[in-house]
């Protein structure tokens, strides 16, 4: 629930908070598992934030956990938007609110960078991994810079990672078989 209340801009912006609350503070799941969960959330229907909450909840406390984590995620946004929707057209015109949100954006940037640094430890460094990492990063940057709205971009990149991983396992199997 805390996570829902503090997440801006959905999906990826909430990763650092989830990662910190769930892996570091509560030790519910490991850093590697977090990345697997994110990949699954991205490649199944439904908003990433909701998918991730359900999955984490299930891992920690079974089906009930999944349902409760998701409801917990939804309640803060629900309440906030419900209140705002009565006067939303004036909302952003208050200078204090606007200033606060600008400050929060900077905070989110710092959080995202530090999450990358922490999660990096869980990834094995090898050639294929580096290639996947660099190409995903450059494709994402180029696409967002030229502002092409291709909604299946990150999904296709994740699928590419999955296929590469399976193909590599197949190749490794063949090598073992021929020995």
């Amino acid at each position: 629930m805390k996570i829902g209340a503090l997440t801006f801009g959905g999906g990826y912006a909430m990763i650092p908070i989830i990662e910190e609350e769930v892996t570091k503070k509560r030790k519910w799941i490991s850093e590697i598992e977090i990345m697997d969960i994110l990949a699954i959330s991205e490649s199944t229907p439904g908003p990433i934030a909701v998918n991730t909450a359900t999955y984490v909840g299930y891992k920690v406390a079974g089906i009930t956990g999944g349902i409760f984590a998701t409801i917990g995620l939804a309640i803060p946004s629900f309440v906030i938007i419900f209140v705002i929707s009565f006067f939303y057209q004036d909302f952003m015109k208050w200078p204090v609110i606007a200033a606060m949100f600008k400050g929060l954006k900077v905070g989110v940037i710092i959080l995202l960078f530090s999450a990358v640094l922490r999660l990096r430890k869980g990834v094995k460094v090898n050639l294929v991994g580096t290639i996947l990492f660099v190409s995903t990063l450059s494709i994402m940057l180029v696409f967002s810079f030229i502002d092409i709205g291709f909604k299946y971009l990150s999904l296709s990149l994740i699928l590419l990672g999955i296929i590469t991983g399976i193909v590599l396992t197949l190749i490794a199997n063949k090598k073992e078989g021929s020995k």
Partner: protein, 191 residues
Amino acid sequence: MIFFELFYTFFLIGLFTFGGGYAMIPMIQEQVVSKGWISESNLTDFIAVSEATPGPFAINISTFVGNSVGGVFGAICSTIGVILPSIIIILIIAMIMKKFMKNKYVQGALSGVRPVVLALILSTALVLFIKVLFFRGNSFKGEWEFDVRSFALLVILSGMLFIYKKVRKKSLGAIKLLGLSALLGIIIFTV
């Protein structure tokens, strides 16, 4: 019945959206604007508000539309509608994954996916960094403009975090950090 219609519409939207919140916008335009539940310009306004308020976009938009069409109960129906497909699908997958986690191919697939996910997070960070610091209106469509105040805030915050880590031997919690950045934001951007 309007409540059932809200539930059903957002259930469909939840079921057929892949990826994060904004991937839903085309679906919402198609399903919600065409029903006359919300106008095109209201939707655009709301996207801006949603971007500036906490919470996942999917839940924000379904609460907003539900409330404007059917009051509190409408908001509840559409929000439950949008999260229900995720709950069902993810629970099923999580149960299946438990069995297959030790499978070689599943492990292979996951090891291929991890660098991609890491790169996706890093690119989100970089894009946000560039937008906030160098573009007016925090969008690539805006004019090129270096935002001195955001930069100052970034430097101050990073400095404070660094000192905190040195002194306390652990990093500042994410939630405290966000509180601090909101507070400093109010000071820096209103003077």
